[in-house]
């Protein structure tokens, strides 16, 4: 098993390396929007577009051999020297560090809430299969899965922000982070994200728990007089928890990353998603790259944790298989 974990970690490193290389390749073959703008400006002010391009390339070090550029890029990436953000006049790592707390203040409550709620509703549905509550929960899961997050956010803003005036429409980043004001303006984004992510957890925990509801050992426990709560936590949740790990990290991370991006733009939260979005609008390539890669690394690490946790928790896994 240790051998498997080592191999899995090594693979994550290789995957990161390959992703960085592919990104470098993509950047190398596409024209830089900033360079084009520079050429356009030079041509518009009567200068030579080619001279401007050469000057730009020399300044960026693009006139060197691809191998030199590639090596420098990789070294910079490894040493967290991710370049200079032109639109924000600060280094990319600083920009990311300043945006990170705003992403954390809504994503941590969202994660905790969706896991707690999703698990409990899923388990409840499993133990009360084919009741009205179960159908309602299933319908809710489909609803949450299908509703486009950004649109749901807009509608909630319209109803609760504009019409009823219960929550602020514009996010105010000056409000102290641990205060009621912050809680109030985070309610809607958290609701939107939870409805999106909860569906997957609910469906999976229901399906997993259903496998054990009728199992022999659950019947035995019931015959011995264990109460419902004990059966649920000791006999159903335990074996079901292992496969649930896969969905908890993998799928949720995927939905969550994309969803938080849109939700930040809709609600105006100055977190990582909005940073990345503004960078795209401002054509700030190094910041676009930095912010996209952050999300990608989170996903790589998430997948790694998931696989390792899976093997540690479930000794039945065959390590030869993938």
């Amino acid at each position: 098993m240790r051998w498997y974990v080592v191999r899995r970690v090594a693979w994550a490193v290789v995957a990161t390396f390959l992703i960085l290389s592919i990104t470098w390749g993509l950047l190398a073959i596409t024209p830089n929007p900033a360079a084009e703008q520079m050429q356009f400006q030079a041509a518009a002010s009567g200068g030579s577009a080619e001279a401007a391009e050469e000057a730009f390339e020399a300044r960026r070090g693009l006139d060197r051999s691809p191998w030199d550029r590639y090596r420098e890029y990789m070294i910079n990436m490894a040493t967290l020297n991710w370049g200079w953000s032109q639109s924000r006049s600060q280094s990319v790592t600083d920009a990311i560090a300043s945006a990170l707390p705003y992403t954390a203040i809504y994503s941590i409550p969202t994660t905790i809430l969706s896991i707690l709620l999703g698990l409990s509703i899923g388990l409840y549905s499993a133990t009360h299969q084919y009741t009205k509550t179960d159908y309602a929960a299933t319908f809710f899961a489909f609803f949450g899965y299908a509703i486009p997050n950004f649109w749901f956010g807009i509608i909630l803003l319209l109803v609760f922000g504009v019409q009823l005036g219960w929550f602020p429409v514009v996010f105010d980043s000056d409000v102290p982070i641990f205060g009621l004001g912050m809680v109030q303006q985070l309610v809607l984004p958290v609701v939107v994200l939870v409805t999106g992510t909860i569906a997957g957890i609910m469906r999976y925990s229901r399906a997993e728990a259903l496998e054990y509801v009728e199992a022999e050992f659950v019947k035995t426990a019931r015959a011995k007089g264990a109460d419902g709560y004990r059966i649920l936590t000791r006999h159903i949740l335990r074996p079901a928890a292992v496969p649930l790990m896969t969905i908890l990290v993998g799928d949720i991370l995927g939905i969550f990353l994309a969803a938080s991006y849109l939700v930040e733009v809709v609600f105006g939260i100055p977190g990582l998603g909005q940073l990345s979005y503004n960078a795209i609008i401002a054509q700030d390539t190094s910041l676009v790259l930095g912010t996209t890669l952050i999300f990608t690394f989170v996903s790589v690490v998430g997948n790694l944790i998931q696989d390792v946790a899976y093997t540690i928790l479930d000794p039945r896994i065959d390590y030869g298989d993938r």
Binding site: W11, A15, L18, I19, I22, T23, L26, L27, T30, F142, F143, Y145, A146, I147, P148, F150, W151, I154, I155, L157, L158, V162, L253, G254, L257, A258, Y261, L262, V265, V266, S276, Y277, I280, V288, L289, T292, F295, T296, S299, V300, N303, R322
Partner: protein, 388 residues
């Protein structure tokens, strides 16, 4: 699957020697149609000038790259879904009986067929809405809004409230574009994105999955390691980065979705095909001298097709949602009226003109919901092997 089932006696064993003759009648039909399409494309590309319409009868239609892909997708659907279903009526009836058990899925199917038909045919007859500022912010029919909101109210003004008219049943945007027409155009965009990307994904995924499973060894290792990397890159950010680098035309979108989204299908096909490759009929086919390609085409692909179709149905809503999200972020194709774009346009007018963002959103939501319901029911109907 097509026509009469082959029995041992009815197969002309001397004929199966040649490459082409192993193709079924349906495959030959598909091949012919494909060749005709390629010929038509070459004609359009070489002979007809770029700004000239390709056909002028019955309607004037300048076929774009995307339209060619769409027509190809429709042909593939015809030859590999409709024809086999028609040819094998008993199986179709069985599928339908299983499918019918799920009432929501039947409803979804009708809804999606309607969206598909309206979206494909509608834009041919409806003119793409243009800028008409004098018609801005008209409320939907049977609803009213304060008369200060629209620049001039087309309907009656009663008690200072502008009444909506049937001229614009769902109202108009801030540019005076009719929302119903925008929604019909959006249907076409969504169907194109969903169906073409899915065709690409299914084709590549099935090819890679079966080759990996049947090829084994180094081929399997390299292909699956590549799939690992592709899957670990979160799809949305891959699209974001690629759209940023290569620009966001709808054609580009679909190509990016199609060329990078097949990882999960390839994995599914590989694991299914690995099981099927162990079955006795594959051993028998190999024993009687069938080549690798023949076994893959004739035995592995048809036997994994059910799970592929189910998985593909569940992939379509994802693509539609990604496209809508990207155009909502105004990273999409500005020339194409997609639902996401209309939602984004209406965002700043929410407090006065709520209908602009609401209606396209409702259609986006119901379409995604319908695909999910249908995928769920298809899994139950097509895949008796699968655990419920």
């Amino acid at each position: 699957m097509g026509g009469k089932p082959d029995t041992f006696e009815s197969v002309d064993w001397t004929e199966t020697g040649g490459r082409l003759s192993t193709l079924s009648r349906r495959d030959r039909g598909a091949l012919l149609a494909g060749l005709a399409l390629v010929a038509a494309f070459c004609y359009d590309f070489v002979v007809v000038a770029a700004d000239q319409p390709t056909i002028t009868f019955p309607v004037e239609w300048n076929v774009t790259q995307l339209d060619w892909l769409f027509v190809t997708t429709l042909l593939a659907l015809l030859f590999y879904v409709v024809v086999p279903l028609y040819g094998n009526r008993r199986l179709t009836a069985y599928y339908w009986r299983e499918f019918r058990k799920n009432r929501m899925a039947v409803l979804s199917l009708f809804y999606l067929v309607a969206v598909f038909l309206i979206g494909t045919i509608g834009p041919i007859f409806l003119e793409q809405p243009g800028l008409a500022l004098e018609r801005a912010y008209q409320p939907p029919a049977y609803l009213s809004v304060d008369s200060t909101v629209p620049v001039n109210c087309i309907g009656e003004v009663v008690n200072g409230q502008c009444q909506g008219t049937m001229e614009h049943p769902l109202g108009t945007t801030g540019d005076g574009k009719d929302i119903l027409v925008l929604i019909v155009y959006g249907m076409q965009v969504s169907m194109k994105v969903g169906l073409i990307s899915t065709l690409l994904v299914v084709t590549i995924g099935t090819a890679v999955g079966t080759v990996a499973a049947y090829g084994g060894g180094l081929v399997d290792e390299v292909l699956m390691r590549y799939v690992d990397i592709q899957l670990v890159f979160p799809a949305f950010f891959l699209y974001l980065l690629l759209t940023y680098l290569f620009g966001g035309s709808l054609f580009m979108f679909i190509i990016i979705f199609g060329l990078t989204g097949w990882g999960s299908i390839a994995r599914l096909v590989r694991s299914e095909a690995l099981q099927r490759a162990e079955e006795a009929y594959v051993t028998a086919a190999r024993g009687s001298g069938a080549g690798t390609l023949y076994v893959i085409r004739r035995h592995l692909v048809p036997n994994v097709s059910n799970s592929v179709i189910t998985a593909a149905t569940l992939l379509i809503p994802g693509f539609i949602l990604f496209e809508a999200s990207l155009s909502f972020l105004s990273l999409g194709d500005p020339t194409v009226p997609s639902w996401g774009q209309v939602i984004a346009n209406g965002r700043s007018d929410l407090s006065t003109a709520w209908w602009v963002s609401t209606f396209p959103g409702v259609f986006l939501f119901t379409t995604i919901l319908a695909f999910n319901f249908m995928g769920d029911a298809l899994r139950d109907a097509l895949d008796p092997r699968q655990e419920r």
